[in-house]
C-alpha cells in the first residue's frame, strides 16, 4: 500500500501546485521536472521486476503489476515526461510568435496532465478487470479537457465526439466485464472474481459462452478507445484538435492503455480455450485496421490527421500482435510507435505553430525555412513508417514472421501490402512538406531547443532497432 501511494504522490502534488502557482512559466518547468522525478521513482519501485528478481508485485487485492505492465508504466511516464518538457518550449514559442494562451488555461492544462498521468499509471497496475475499466474510463474523462484546450468550435466538436463515442464504447467493455464476472460465478471460483490472475488459473472451468460474449464486448469496447477500424471516428478529430504535447500523449500513451485492456481480456480467453474462434477475431480486426488506415493515410489533407491515421495503423499492428498472443511483440510495437510518434507530433506541432496552418497543401519548403526541423521530421516519419533500421521495422518484420507460424497467410499478405502503401503515402506527404519553395512568413523560434526532445526520441527508437536482439523473441 505504501509503495502504491508513493507512485501517486508526485503527480497529485504537482497537479495541486499547478493550480496555485501564479506564473505558468514556473509551472511548466516544475511539471517537466516532476515528471522526470516520477520516472526515477517508478523505476525504483518497479526495480525488482525490471531486474528480473520477481515476476510481479502485488500492491493490494486486485492491484498487481506484472512484467508487461511495468514496462508500460515506464513507457507512459517517459512519454509524459518528454511531452511536458516539450510543452514548456511549445507554450513559450506560442507566446512569442502567436497569440499567447491565457494563464488560467495553462494552469488547468498542467493540472489535468498530472491527473491524466495518474489515471494512465493505474491502468497498468490493475489485475481486476473492474478496476481496469474504471482506470480506462478515468483516462477518457481526464484527457477530455486536453482535447478542449483550444476552446474553439473545432475543439468543442472534437471533445464532444471523443467523450461520447469513447464513453459509449467503454460502456460496452463494462458489459463485457460483467459477462466475464458472471462466467466466473458459474465455475470453480464460486463467488466469482474479476482478478485476471485468478481467472487464468481456473479458466478452463469458466462458463465459456459467457466468457466468449464478455471477451467480444471487451474487444469492441476497448477497441473503440484504441481506435480500431471501423470504430476509430473520434481519433483523428481528437488528435488533430488537441495542442501538440497533448496529441503526443494521446497517441503515445493513451492508446496503449486501451490496448492493454484488450490484452488482459485476451489472456483470460486464451487460457480457457487456446484456439477459440472468437480469439481469431482479434488478429482479423488488427489486420483490417492496418489496411483501412493505410487507405486513409494516402488521401490526407491535414498534417496532424495524417499522423492520427498512422497511429490507427500502428494500433492495428498492436492488435494483430495481441491476436498472435505475443506480449513482447505487442510491447515492442507500442514502444517503437510511442517513441517515434511522440517525436513526430511534437515536431509537427512546431511546424504547424510556425506556419500557422495544418493543411498539407499549404505546407512546403521546410528545408529552406528550418533545415534542422526538416531533418527531424524526415527521420521521425521514416521511423514511424517503419524504414530499416528503425525499431518499427524490426518489430514489423518479427510480427509478420510470427504470423506465418500461426498460418495467417492472407492477413500477413494484406498487412504487408498495407504497410508498403502507407510507407509510400507518408513519405510522399512529408516530402511535400520538406521540399519546395520556403514559406516567407514561417516564424521559427529557438530552432535547436525545439528539436531537442524529438531528436532524442528518434535516436532512442533507432537505438532499439539496432541493439535489441529480435531473434530471441
Amino acid at each position: 500500500m505504501n509503495e502504491l501511494g508513493l507512485l501517486f504522490t508526485i503527480p497529485s502534488l504537482t497537479a495541486l501546485l499547478s493550480l496555485f502557482i501564479k506564473k505558468t512559466a514556473i509551472t511548466g518547468k516544475l511539471c517537466a521536472l516532476a515528471a522526470w522525478l516520477q520516472l526515477a521513482l517508478v523505476i525504483s519501485v518497479l526495480l525488482p521486476i525490471l531486474t528480473g528478481h520477481s515476476t510481479s508485485i502485488s500492491f493490494a487485492p486486485g492491484l498487481i503489476v506484472d512484467k508487461l505492465g511495468s514496462y508500460f508504466i515506464l513507457l507512459t511516464t517517459f512519454v509524459v515526461a518528454c511531452a511536458l518538457t516539450h510543452a514548456d518550449y511549445f507554450f513559450q514559442a506560442q507566446a512569442v510568435i502567436g497569440e499567447p494562451y491565457k494563464d488560467s488555461r495553462l494552469k488547468l492544462f498542467y493540472a489535468v496532465v498530472n491527473i491524466f498521468l495518474m489515471a494512465m499509471t493505474s491502468v497498468f497496475l490493475c489485475d481486476s478487470l473492474g478496476y481496469l475499466w474504471i482506470a480506462i474510463e478515468a483516462t477518457t474523462l481526464s484527457s477530455a479537457p486536453l482535447v478542449y484546450f483550444e476552446r474553439n468550435k473545432h475543439a468543442l466538436e472534437a471533445t464532444w465526439k471523443y467523450l461520447i463515442v469513447c464513453s459509449v464504447g467503454i460502456a460496452f467493455a463494462l458489459l463485457g466485464t460483467v459477462f466475464i464476472f458472471a462466467a466466473s460465478q458459474r465455475s470453480d471460483l464460486g463467488s466469482g472474481t474479476l482478478n485476471v490472475s485468478e481467472l487464468i488459473v481456473s479458466a478452463k472451468t469458466l462458463s465459456f459462452p459467457l466468457l466468449r460474449l464478455g471477451f467480444i464486448f471487451c474487444l469492441l469496447g476497448y477497441g473503440t478507445k484504441a481506435g480500431i477500424f471501423p470504430l476509430h471516428s473520434w481519433l483523428p478529430d481528437a488528435h488533430s484538435e488537441a495542442p501538440a504535447p497533448a496529441s503526443a500523449m494521446l497517441s503515445g500513451s493513451l492508446l496503449n492503455c486501451a490496448l492493454f485492456g484488450i490484452w488482459k481480456a485476451s489472456t483470460v480467453i486464451t487460457a480457457a480455450k487456446p484456439e477459440a474462434p472468437a480469439f481469431h477475431l482479434v488478429a482479423v480486426m488488427g489486420a483490417l485496421t492496418v489496411v483501412a488506415a493505410s487507405i486513409f493515410i494516402i488521401r490526407q489533407h491535414n498534417l496532424k490527421r495524417l499522423w492520427a491515421y498512422s497511429s490507427i495503423e500502428n494500433v492495428g499492428l498492436m492488435v494483430f500482435a495481441i491476436g498472435l498472443g505475443s506480449g513482447p511483440l505487442f510491447f515492442l510495437q507500442a514502444l517503437n510507435h510511442s517513441l517515434a510518434k511522440v517525436s513526430l507530433f511534437l515536431i509537427s506541432g512546431n511546424i504547424v505553430q510556425a506556419a500557422g496552418t495544418k493543411k498539407l497543401s499549404k505546407l512546403h519548403g521546410l528545408l529552406e525555412n528550418s533545415p534542422f526541423w526538416a531533418g527531424a521530421l524526415a527521420l521521425a516519419s521514416l521511423a514511424v513508417a517503419g524504414a530499416p533500421p528503425f525499431g518499427s521495422f524490426m518489430t514489423e518484420m518479427s510480427l509478420l514472421t510470427l504470423s506465418l507460424g500461426h498460418k495467417y497467410y492472407i492477413l500477413a499478405a494484406l498487412i504487408n501490402v498495407a504497410l508498403a502503401v502507407s510507407f509510400l503515402g507518408i513519405l510522399a506527404h512529408t516530402g511535400k512538406v520538406i521540399f519546395g519553395a520556403g514559406k516567407p512568413d514561417f516564424k521559427v523560434f529557438s530552432e535547436r531547443r525545439a528539436a531537442l526532445v524529438p531528436m532524442l526520441l528518434v535516436a532512442s527508437t533507432l537505438a532499439i532497432g539496432l541493439l535489441v536482439n529480435y531473434e530471441s523473441r
Partner: protein, 218 residues
C-alpha cells in the same frame, strides 16, 4: 402468466425506459429517466432482500443518491441554464421510436432465451432479468441514434449504463462493491463534464444539435 416481484420490477424498469422514447420534451424525458432508475433501485433492494446480500442495499442507496436524485436534477439545471426545452427534430418521430423500443423489448425476450448462459442467477429458469436489461440497452442505443440534442445523447448514455447495471445485478451475485462505487463516480464525473461541454456548445453554436457538428472530416 404470473409474474414474481422480481420479474414485475424488471419489466417495470424496461417499460419506464421505453417511455423515455415516447416524447421529445426533455424535461419529461428526465422525469421518466428518474422513475425508470427508481424501479431499478427497487429491484436492487428486492434482490438484496431475497439473496441476503447486504452490500446490495448500500449500492442501491448510492444509486438512488447519484442517479435518481442528483443527475436528473443536475441535467434539469443545465437545461434551464442553456435554455433548451425539447429535442424538436428527432430523426424518427417520438411515437414511432417508442414503438420500435417496444418491438426491441420483444426481440430482447427472444434473444435472451436463445443466448446460452443468460438465465438469471436469482430466478430459476427466468430470462426476464436479462430481457429487461437487454431491452434497456436497446432503448439507450435508440435514444442516441434517433435524437439530435446533446442532452438526449447524455441521457442515451445514462440509459445504456442502466442496462449494463441491470445485467450486473441480475446475472451475477452483485459486482464487487468497490467496482460499483468506482463506476458510479465515473458516471457522475462524466455527466458533469458533458454537461459543462453542453453549455459551451450552446454558447458557441447557439444550438445543441450535435448532428450539425460535422466540420471535422477528412
Amino acid at each position: 402468466m404470473q409474474l414474481s416481484t422480481f420479474e414485475a420490477l424488471a419489466m417495470l424498469s424496461a417499460v419506464l425506459g421505453i417511455l423515455i422514447l415516447g416524447t421529445t420534451l426533455l424535461r419529461t424525458n428526465l422525469s421518466f429517466y428518474r422513475f425508470h432508475t427508481l424501479a431499478i433501485v427497487a429491484l436492487t433492494v428486492w434482490i438484496g432482500h431475497i439473496t441476503k446480500e447486504a452490500h446490495l442495499y448500500i449500492v442501491a442507496a448510492a444509486v438512488l443518491l447519484v442517479k435518481v436524485l442528483f443527475i436528473p436534477s443536475f441535467l434539469g439545471w443545465v437545461m434551464k441554464k442553456a435554455e433548451v426545452g425539447s429535442d424538436k427534430q428527432a430523426f424518427i418521430a417520438a411515437p414511432l421510436s417508442m414503438h420500435l423500443g417496444a418491438i426491441m423489448l420483444g426481440v430482447s425476450y427472444l434473444l435472451s432465451s436463445r443466448i446460452p448462459g443468460l438465465e438469471g442467477v436469482h430466478q430459476e429458469g427466468s430470462h426476464l432479468g436479462s430481457t429487461a436489461a437487454m431491452s434497456i440497452l436497446f432503448t439507450g442505443v435508440l435514444l442516441m441514434l434517433t435524437r439530435r440534442a446533446a442532452l438526449s445523447q447524455i441521457l442515451g448514455f445514462l440509459v445504456i449504463e442502466n442496462g449494463i447495471y441491470l445485467f450486473a445485478v441480475t446475472q451475477t451475485h452483485g459486482m464487487p462493491m468497490l467496482v460499483e462505487m468506482g463506476l458510479l463516480l465515473e458516471v457522475l464525473v462524466g455527466v458533469m463534464i458533458s454537461g459543462l461541454l453542453l453549455f459551451n456548445i450552446k454558447k458557441s453554436f447557439e444550438h445543441i444539435d450535435v448532428s450539425q457538428l460535422t466540420d471535422l472530416k477528412d
